[in-house]
Point group: C2
């Protein structure tokens, strides 16, 4: 090319037979092109004498436009709903999202953190199964946002979560308002923070109504088997000892469904004899008979707020340390007549 006009990115794209966006990606080496395309574009750049805007390049070339997302159990519809919304939200900003399932294994969560933050991604959204994020796993340069749960960390990690204490208190106060005088609590197998917050809400509600908090009334799901089955067994065993309770607050819909199955199998009327409230408003709640009362946590908003906080950090801004997404008590057939 010998004309006086400087060669533009459009000239390069035309010569290489690709779009200007593709030329830009090759120049910035952000990964979204084949080796053949890279060769074609580089040849076109060499032949045309195109000089890329190096300021723009250095600004952009730090970015992979990949975001990692860590989830404890991808087959749990609550987490997969969040992952789905995260993907939609970030795709709109041009990001690819890699969802990494840890199977609630602390070892695998640590391994994914290391893999993702080793130059693969620009940021990490994390629904952690850990109680603590080890400092050495978290490179300073890579923004991390915790959704739902909030493990301890030496570094200040912004979090987006529900107000689990308040939501749990609301659920238990609803049961008390419906006349329940002894309420079991089914504790999910989750990281300590979420478990503690829901247990706190349960205890606060009982205490504020002068009701005894009995350790024996908390049933612990261990997570060694599907929580629905485990809860079913725990509640069946409790019923076998005598029906001395009239309410159940389950810290997940999975365990609430298990409880409901055990009660139905034992011929106990729900909500006539025992009232139940679950947690998460999963699709299950509308399929059971009776339909389950539950806490709606708005997975779409948890996802969107999480993405917003991450994008703020990627833009060099300081996001709020804590973002609370509101919850709602959804009263269905299992807790009221």
């Amino acid at each position: 090319m010998t004309q006086g006009k400087p060669v533009s990115i459009r000239d390069v794209a035309r010569m290489a037979g690709v779009s200007t966006a593709t030329v830009s990606r090759v120049i910035n080496d952000n990964g979204r092109f084949s080796e053949a395309t890279r060769e074609r574009v580089e040849r076109a750049i060499a032949e045309s004498g195109y000089v890329a805007n190096m300021a723009a390049k250095s600004l952009r070339s730090q970015r992979s436009y990949n975001i990692g997302m860590i989830v404890p159990d991808i087959s749990n519809d609550f987490f997969s709903a969040i992952a789905l919304h995260v993907e939609r939200t970030l795709a709109a900003s041009g990001y690819s999202v890699f969802v990494c399932n840890t199977g609630n294994s602390a070892e695998r969560e640590r391994a994914y953190f290391t893999t993702l933050t080793s130059k693969l991604v620009d940021g990490v959204l994390c629904i952690s199964g850990l109680n603590e994020l080890p400092e050495n796993l978290l490179p300073d340069a890579i923004p991390i946002v915790c959704i739902d749960r909030y493990p301890a960390s030496g570094r200040r990690i912004p979090r987006v979560s529900s107000d689990d204490v308040r939501a749990s208190r609301l659920a238990v106060e609803h049961l008390i308002g419906q006349g329940c005088r002894r309420i079991l609590y089914i504790s999910s197998y989750t990281a300590d923070y979420a478990r503690q917050d829901r247990a706190t809400g349960y205890r606060e509600a009982l205490a504020s109504h002068g009701m005894a908090v009995r350790p024996v009334d908390t049933l612990f799901v261990t997570g060694t088997r599907p929580s629905m089955e485990e809860a079913e067994e725990l509640v069946a065993r409790r019923i076998a000892q005598g029906l001395d309770f009239d309410g159940i607050f389950a810290s997940s819909d999975h365990t609430a469904v298990g409880a409901l199955k055990a009660l139905r199998a034992a011929g106990v009327d729900v909500p006539g004899q025992v009232r139940i409230v679950g947690y998460d408003d999963s699709i299950y709640t509308r399929l059971t008979t009776p339909q389950l009362s539950t806490i709606q946590r708005h997975t779409d908003q948890l996802a969107e707020r999480g993405c917003e906080v991450l994008l703020q950090m990627l833009a060099g801004k300081t996001p709020p340390a804590v973002t609370i997404v509101p919850t709602e008590l959804v009263v269905r057939e299992s807790s009221s007549k």
Copy 2:
């Protein structure tokens, strides 16, 4: 170190205060370590005079030990169950799995293919939403395995899937055996291949029993809204025109649940007046009243066979072009008395 014995990887690990596995990862540059660790290990290597086994290094350093997995809808429990099993299976072989949700968007699936295969991963497991995998997206060097669906491709891509034609025929023949004389088919919004295979099984079963195949008896879910809701609406509209059918074969449990809801809302007895069989044996099937008959497709086996085929390819072997995972008809309350 001055003694005669050659320095081993164990010496380096001890000096750097890390495991031998970490030293190996740093040497092979496979990504699973922090910059601080890299520095420590490299210093220990320099100070100890350790000479890595370069043959082993060159063999391994081509590998990222990352596998990409493309799924059309991560919030669909069928796909998330497969992703879960893939993660478990490949973690046992030391791989990280990145799950990429395409939201059934052809454009996003193509973008993920390009991102993943640009040096990020060693292989791709794909539940495709595309009818055709464009040749230019598929670098020769990167093994790709299709699970469940099988888009067309210029390149021979091994696939692992159910025998959808046979499974669908089985489901419809069961309904005929139960006395159904006019059976609706609810077609899911999926890639053409899966849709065609299930429709083929439906038509073959009707034809082999001398029953008419009426175009009006196929209800098409478009995928523009949750398929459960869409199926509910389609079946409600059909009922409003008169209850001229006594069986429904739904090509997913989601649409079967939608159909069941519409029938119950209209006061139609299931299975007394209309019998239903779904597809996938999702958790939903055991929560509805009546419980749903369905096709069990063994997501664990689909995942494991898919991983086996991929690992064979990564080991340089030629896998079978097609691996069929058996299905089973599970008869529950919705189709028999």
